[in-house]
């Protein structure tokens, strides 16, 4: 087991692109080797050693045996955990955009808030956001047909607009409220919103959206299919989006 601890040396203002902060990049590397990896602060290439205090305990052959602990504020570090295949990342505070993008495996835990595009295009693994998540949880890149394809994202607080846009698989659980239009063009993912939301499921063709709180505005594109119980609680089941001959299932209390 290799444990790598990163402590930011300063409060970054310009965002740092830190796609090298993954178990895959760190596996088997010494502290100085990790410190030599390059992140970009705006247009400035900067070795991680300039940005973080780095401590390494133990060693690992593969990403699966790497644990990265980030102690301090990385609310201005983007792309942490991008494309990771295994291992763990623990972020004590907030994290910037695209955390866990294209993630394939492993676990990311964010104790604070996640900025937009957490879990963008992820295909596997697990992301837990203990605070709030901003826009586009588990969504895709502009123009791509699929967002999240697999894995699970849990947001313990609220999530903002467009959660699960173009989702093709996997699961998103939002314990708080979701902003507008969750599950847009859902093509096979499962989204559970325990709080309130508005306009869910537009253009959904496959998959499931369950809203346990209030739906402020229902899209005028769903066929009501009666009452169904999920885990002992009764929901009204809708099927749609009818415009796209969708077979998506939307459960509303």
């Amino acid at each position: 087991m290799q444990t790598v601890t990163l402590v930011p040396k300063e409060q970054f203002k310009i965002s740092v692109e830190g796609e090298v902060i993954t178990p895959d990049y760190f596996a088997g590397k010494s502290g100085s080797e990790i410190g030599a990896l390059i992140a970009y602060e705006g247009n400035m290439p900067r070795p991680l050693s300039e940005l973080f205090e780095i401590k390494v305990n133990g060693s690992a052959e593969t990403a699966d045996d790497v644990k990265i602990e980030i102690n301090g504020n990385v609310a201005r570090v983007k792309r942490i955990g991008e494309g990771m295949t295994g291992g763990r990342i623990m972020i004590e505070g907030d994290v910037d955009m695209r955390c866990g993008a294209k993630m394939k495996g492993g676990i990311i835990t964010i104790k604070g808030n996640a900025d937009s595009w957490v879990g963008q295009e992820m295909t596997g693994g697990e992301i837990n956001v203990q605070g709030n998540a901003a826009f586009y949880v588990g969504s895709g890149y502009r123009g791509e047909s699929c967002g999240m394809r697999g894995g699970k994202i849990t947001v313990f607080g609220n999530a903002n607009d467009f959660a699960g846009e173009h989702m093709c698989g996997g699961e998103i659980v939002i314990k708080g409220n979701a902003g507008i239009m969750p599950g847009l063009s859902n093509k096979g993912g499962r989204i559970v919103i325990e709080g309130n939301t508005t306009m869910p499921g537009s253009e959904m063709t496959k998959g499931t959206i369950i809203v346990k709180g209030e739906v402020e505005n229902m899209m005028p594109v769903y066929q009501r299919e009666g009452i169904e119980a999920i885990d002992g609680v009764e929901f009204t089941k809708y099927v749609g989006d009818v415009i796209v001959s969708g077979k998506g299932e939307l459960f509303v209390k």
């Binding site: 507008i180 239009m181 537009s202 009818v242």
Partner: protein
């Protein structure tokens, strides 16, 4: 001397039928222009010379072009996250230089579309855009929809030249050849000229568009009694009007791009129009604001692959509105220098964004004293493109035309200033590497 076929350097209509009388290098008469175009060509008080100040609250002092250019280059070359914003009231020739400068300094280039039709581009990423040139609509459209736009005010000659009152090949009765429908949240002066005004609750356009799509798809059964403040009966009636068109055209504006849902409204409107093509021919087109904002999107796309909001900090383009647009960056306080050219961020960004701009060095390149000038440290006056300088602009429908020069002035062009800044940036960067 009367110069004919003059192009108007104001709005996206890019009217090209103006005649301008010039005597002794002065514009003395302007024919065929709208009130705004005439005002633009006649001109206003100019910034007379480059100016600089260290403190944004102190008075400007006049400086030489070289001094202002060199200082601008120094600021940009030493910046880690410079924003280069504006561009829309300039010519394509200078936009190319803008992309190059952005590469040189590893900055972000963004144009005024990010507070205008930027969401329309995001809608195009989702669904495409069935569209055409304005003459196609003029000659053929028998059903004309204005959705969230007000051409009487924003594009004063649009309805006369292209969309409503003019005669075309298949629309030879002019206004009587067309049924005009306006969707808006308030009864605008455009709505007063329509055959049908449909009032939408603010922020509910998306649901109204979906309801119309459902009706067109034959699923009126799922549509509730009212959607967005409009009765189902009314929606059915409008859907029938649209389906009955031989050629329908939807012109849309910031009523869709700036209201709740933003780009999703465009996405949905494009889908409605696409689906209507099962019945007749239908097209849709954004009503672009600045006369060459469409040109920026084209130049940026062919230069970088992306339409706007391009981050060059890694030496290659990265695009992601929500992350790389001016207001995203300003609200995050990431920017450490701002270069504002041919667009007025100061007058058209939310106050909180501008306050963030107030904290960094601002370079303002503009012929006129704008709200951005108030926030600037360096001001460099240039020629008025399309009046004092010829070059390329793109009409809202993507038709590229060559702007004419009417009078000569001593100011440098935007392109010349950019060339000099690029050369100086290279010198500074070359010396430090």
């Amino acid at each position: 001397m009367i110069i004919k076929d003059v192009l108007c350097p104001f709005c996206g209509c890019l009217c090209d039928d103006l005649a301008v009388k010039v005597e002794n290098n002065k514009v003395v008469d302007i024919m065929h222009a709208c009130k705004i175009g005439e005002s633009k060509i006649r001109g206003h008080d100019r910034i007379k010379a480059p100016m600089m100040r260290d403190n944004k609250n102190s008075e400007f002092r006049e400086v030489s072009y070289d001094e202002a250019i060199n200082e601008s280059a120094r600021i940009l070359a030493n910046s880690r996250r410079p924003l280069l914003y504006g561009w829309a009231s300039g010519l394509c020739e200078m936009m190319k230089k803008g992309v190059l400068l952005t590469e040189e300094v590893g900055g972000i280039i963004d144009n005024t579309a990010s507070v205008c039709h930027g969401p329309s581009a995001l809608g195009v990423h989702e669904k495409g855009l069935p569209t055409g040139t304005l003459g196609q609509f003029a000659n053929r459209a028998d059903v004309v929809v204005f959705w969230g736009c007000n051409p009487v005010h924003a594009h004063p000659r649009h309805m006369g030249r292209y969309s409503v009152f003019n005669k075309g090949f298949f629309t030879n009765k002019g206004r009587r050849s067309r049924k005009v429908v306006v969707f808006d949240v308030r009864k605008t002066d455009t709505a007063n000229l329509a055959d049908e005004y449909v009032q939408v609750n603010p922020g509910e356009d998306y649901m109204v568009l979906s309801a119309l799509r459902a009706i067109v798809a034959g699923r009126v059964d799922v549509v509730p009694d009212t959607v967005g403040g409009i009765s189902r009966e009314k929606l059915v009636e409008v859907a029938e009007t649209l389906k009955g068109a031989k050629f329908g055209i939807v012109y849309f504006g910031m009523g869709l791009t700036q209201s709740r849902g933003k780009y999703k409204n465009i996405d949905n409107a494009v889908s409605l129009v696409t689906e209507l093509n099962a019945h007749g021919k239908h097209s849709i087109i954004p009503m672009r604001g600045h006369y060459n904002v469409t040109g920026f999107g084209n130049v940026c796309a062919w230069e970088t692959g992306f339409v706007n909001a391009v981050d060059m900090s890694r030496g290659y383009p990265y695009y992601n509105p929500g992350e790389t647009c001016s207001n995203d960056l300003l609200m995050r306080e990431e920017i450490d220098a701002a270069f504002i050219i041919a667009g007025d961020a100061g007058a058209h960004f939310p106050a909180q964004s501008i306050a963030r701009m107030g904290k960094v060095p601002v370079i303002n390149i503009d012929p006129f004293h704008s709200a951005t000038t108030e926030m600037a440290n360096i001001v460099i006056p240039t020629k008025v493109s399309g009046v004092e300088l010829e070059g390329t602009a793109y009409r809202m429908d993507g038709v590229s035309l060559r702007m004419r020069k009417l009078v000569d002035v001593d100011f440098p062009s935007d392109e010349e200033v950019l060339d000099k800044i690029i050369a100086k940036v290279r010198e500074i960067k070359g010396a430090s590497s």
